[in-house]
Symmetry: C2
Subunit: 294 residues, 2 copies
């Protein structure tokens, strides 16, 4: 395990000079001194699919825990470098088979947070695909190859994800957001984990959860994104696959309320203790495997 | 019930002069005399999301029958006309609520075929949203407001779907494909019903099913589409959400075989009788409701 070696580029700092990808063969040094201001549409109902000739994107579902796993790759790059967000142990073979069929090179197996409802697939993936590195936030307290911090960029080919801290469901939750540059997918895509769900949000009653912190995270880190940004959560229980920032700012039944009302809602959910919690959390602190080298 | 009033435009007829939308207030007459030849990428791994500033697209899932319902709308049109493909009775309220939240005007509630595993939502939708018309193929033998035939175009605003006959799972199965014109979504999107599933296909042992016919349908009507065409099936049982023509031509474990081998595979599936069949099929012949005016 070692800490993140990415050059930290604070978000919204227009005069940062360069960033580095961690993987040497994909090393990229790019001037980003002049980020053009995009005329982002604020239309809530705009198309929920991102336009990019480089991006391959797949949304994958694990039925028992209603978890979404996301596969992203830069298919314009000779290596087709790819990453998986929130893989589940049960569906690792499905996911890796798809990676192979599509001719991708998996470089990162990432988590948005330490899950309490399923065991992460990152450890299994590393065993089966030794080149891949596990990624999670330093604030999660978990072991991983790469411990990310807010403002980091995770590069795969010419594409990258920004890391935003969105604690509140757990103290180490992050949201991964595609970059705000002309050659990155448009609209932007936000992988929100359990911080923001479609018309909902993750619970805040364990794992360092805080309803106040979650409210502030979503409002400061997600609702400040362009309204057409696509929301891809870690779970959905009603069959929705995607939403937008604009939709959630208008229709989310919890996060459209003021902070005090939100706190009351979260205090009165009366949810059952997660049946997988005592298995999943200890396992997920070590990539889903009792393997100190995860 | 009345038959389809669309002007029939045979597929791939480059000198057809115009087409009409059925709904008067959305009437559109467009010259399509000069369809440019697109440089379609044959790259199998290209991005599985369609680029169109006009299209709003949502994939919705019904867990019990593992059915995908699709919502498409032209959000560039003042009315935001929309259609639903393969809605399920149980999730009609979810779907219509989303339609309302997004400010869409539902014009069509369509089926790819007479389903045997769930009851269609088209009848309920018409009750709750009187402006919407039910759509199914004439070959299905079902009642509906609009009985479509191969080569028809189903217009919603400036966007349209082509109808392709893909019998074999049932004798009335069709595949809806987004248009092959510069202002239509790219890559193209094919809503294949149960004719072609991701790494699979629908069974062929009832409802006029024929393995030979299904094989010929998929090879002549779907595998002839550009390889980057996105495949959106009516079901998935493994958590996949989308595939491409290129992927299925390479990795579909059934349809990559020759006809004789395919027929043997289909004869030896030994599948159970669908538990919903005796309820779903009679209901689906009348839009899911015992209502002769469906």
């Amino acid at each position: 395990m070692h800490s993140c070696r990415f050059l930290r580029v604070p978000l919204f700092q227009p005069n940062a000079l360069c960033f580095f990808s961690q993987t040497p063969h994909l090393l990229s040094v790019k001037p980003i001194s002049s980020i053009p201001v995009r005329n982002f549409s604020s239309q809530m109902g705009s198309s929920p699919s991102s336009s990019s000739s480089k991006l391959l994107f797949r949304q994958l579902f694990e039925k028992d825990s209603s978890t979404y796993t996301y596969l992203l790759a830069d298919v314009s790059h000779p290596d087709k470098p790819a990453l998986l967000i929130d893989p589940v142990d049960k569906t690792v073979d499905r996911d890796l088979n798809l990676v192979r069929e599509l001719g991708l090179k998996l470089v990162y197996a990432m988590n948005t947070h330490v899950h309490a409802d399923h065991v992460t697939g990152t450890g299994l993936i590393k065993n089966k695909f030794p080149g891949a590195k596990s990624v999670i936030s330093r604030a999660s307290g978990s072991k991983a190859d790469v411990l990310i911090e807010p403002g980091d960029r995770i590069s795969f080919g010419d594409l990258f994800l920004e890391v935003r801290a969105t604690p509140g469901h757990t103290s180490g939750c992050v949201t991964y957001v595609t970059g705000d540059e002309p050659d990155q997918p448009y609209p932007r895509m936000a992988f929100t984990g359990d911080a923001l769900l479609i018309r909902g949000c993750g619970r805040t009653d364990f794992q360092g959860g805080s309803s106040k912190q979650l409210y502030e995270s979503v409002h400061s880190q997600i609702f400040t994104l362009p309204k057409d940004t696509l929301i891809y959560p870690a779970h959905d229980y009603k069959g929705f696959s995607v939403s937008t920032v604009g939709e959630e700012m208008t229709y989310n039944p919890r996060l459209t309320k003021d902070l005090e009302e939100f706190k009351k809602i979260m205090e009165n959910l009366n949810l059952a203790y997660p049946k997988m919690m005592d298995i999943a959390v200890p396992a997920n602190l070590v990539c889903g495997l009792q393997d100190p080298a995860c």
